[in-house]
Amino acid sequence: MEVKYKKTKGLTDSPLSYCPGCTHGIIHKLVAEVLEELGVLGESIVIASVGCSVFSYRFFNCDAVQSAHGRACAVATGIKRNLPDHVVFTYQGDGDLASIGIAETIHAANRGENITVIFVNNAIYGMTGGQMAPTSLIGQKTTTSPMGRMAEVHGSPLHISEIFSQIDRVAYLERVSVFNPRQVRNAKNAIRKAFTYQVEKRGFTMVEVLSSCPVNWGMTPVDSLKWIEEKMVPVFPLKVFKDKGVENNV
């Protein structure tokens, strides 16, 4: 008998703190698997941002730094500039990255910090109980947009990957999701590529992952995946926005 799938050594034994069916868990294991497969766990440092994934410092089987809300990329910069040969990555939600932390993230990208950003876009503030995020969809009801998000009042969903595609020193940038096994495999490929580029010192890499929040969306985990596919993907198309490895071998 051959083991086809088992829990990666890239994760610790600590049970994940996520709600049932929350795809934070899937994304965690993809990242962890990639780190394990690349053999870089011993030289990796994860920056755990503030959001439901704040406890990721307990979950990834490597050194970890918990950072202030939104500032993960600044913290990563502080680490990576001093440890240029280590693998440094942030794991950030849409509140953390797209709202309070957009400045730090854009500038880390623009400086070309050789780090990887795992951007988990679940269109909501999960941790704090379901407030509107910059990426919430038009019409989406949240605790701070109780009548649904309205473009005229709240603005439109912010397209992070589209924005970052305009930054010269981004080396790899893709939007993926995890709403079915095929997408999960795609997502893993993107994450692998991002980390590989970092190891190759090509510059800033980011993977945006459309993720679910069954609890605050008020849906079952399975319906949540459908919602990603049917509602989120049309607004946030899945694609490679930037790939310096293809454009030109930097």
Binding site: S17, Y18, C19
Partner: protein, 184 residues
């Protein structure tokens, strides 16, 4: 009632713990008594447990926290274990006997097991297990009348959930009955 009653309510997330506690506080307000409801909040609720405390009193409530509760309402086994030691001697534990079997209770504390899951399922939905427990508590404590409980329940459910009023009332009734039977 000359001393405030301190009540601790605990269970899994999803068992309606917060509503149970709030209903008591609303009943007190309705009856012009003082009341104070304190939830445990934050990510630990994500871990799957939920608890809150309620103080009901005829005079101004001072300390909003208490170490020793008069009553524990335990909706599952871990909650019972976690909180049973805080019950004062002479105090009482109401527990969900659908999930807690043969509990070991502290010295000097009475226990009443009500099979609230089973009763609720009999009524048609597990959702009303908390109101079943409320019925039991009301019967036990003799704090509030049925009229008060029903009035508060109606408000609580609001228009949107008005259709659930009937089954919830029934649950309260069945809880009362169950407790009455135990008290015997």
């Amino acid at each position: 009632m000359c001393k405030p009653v301190n009540i601790r309510v605990a269970g899994f997330g999803g068992q309606g713990i917060m509503m149970f506690g709030q209903m008591l506080a609303y009943c007190a307000t309705n009856d012009n008594m003082f009341s104070l409801w304190v939830p445990s909040y934050g990510p630990e609720t994500r871990g799957g447990t939920a608890n809150c405390s309620v103080i009901v009193s005829t005079k101004m409530i001072n300390s909003p926290v208490f170490t020793n509760a008069d009553v524990l309402v335990a909706f599952n086994q871990p909650s019972l274990e976690k909180f049973k030691e805080m019950i004062v001697p002479g105090g009482c534990i109401l527990y969900n006997s659908s999930m807690i079997h043969d509990p070991i209770l502290p010295e000097g504390v009475r226990g009443y097991g009500i099979p609230i899951n089973d009763i609720a399922l009999e009524l048609g939905t597990i959702q009303v297990s908390n109101m079943t427990m409320l019925g039991a508590y009301l019967e036990f404590s003799e704090l509030f009348s049925d009229a008060t409980a029903e009035k508060v329940l109606e408000k609580y459910l609001g228009e949107k959930k008005a259709h659930l009023l009937g089954i919830n009332k029934q649950a309260i009734l069945r809880g009362r009955e169950a407790l009455r039977a135990l008290k015997g």
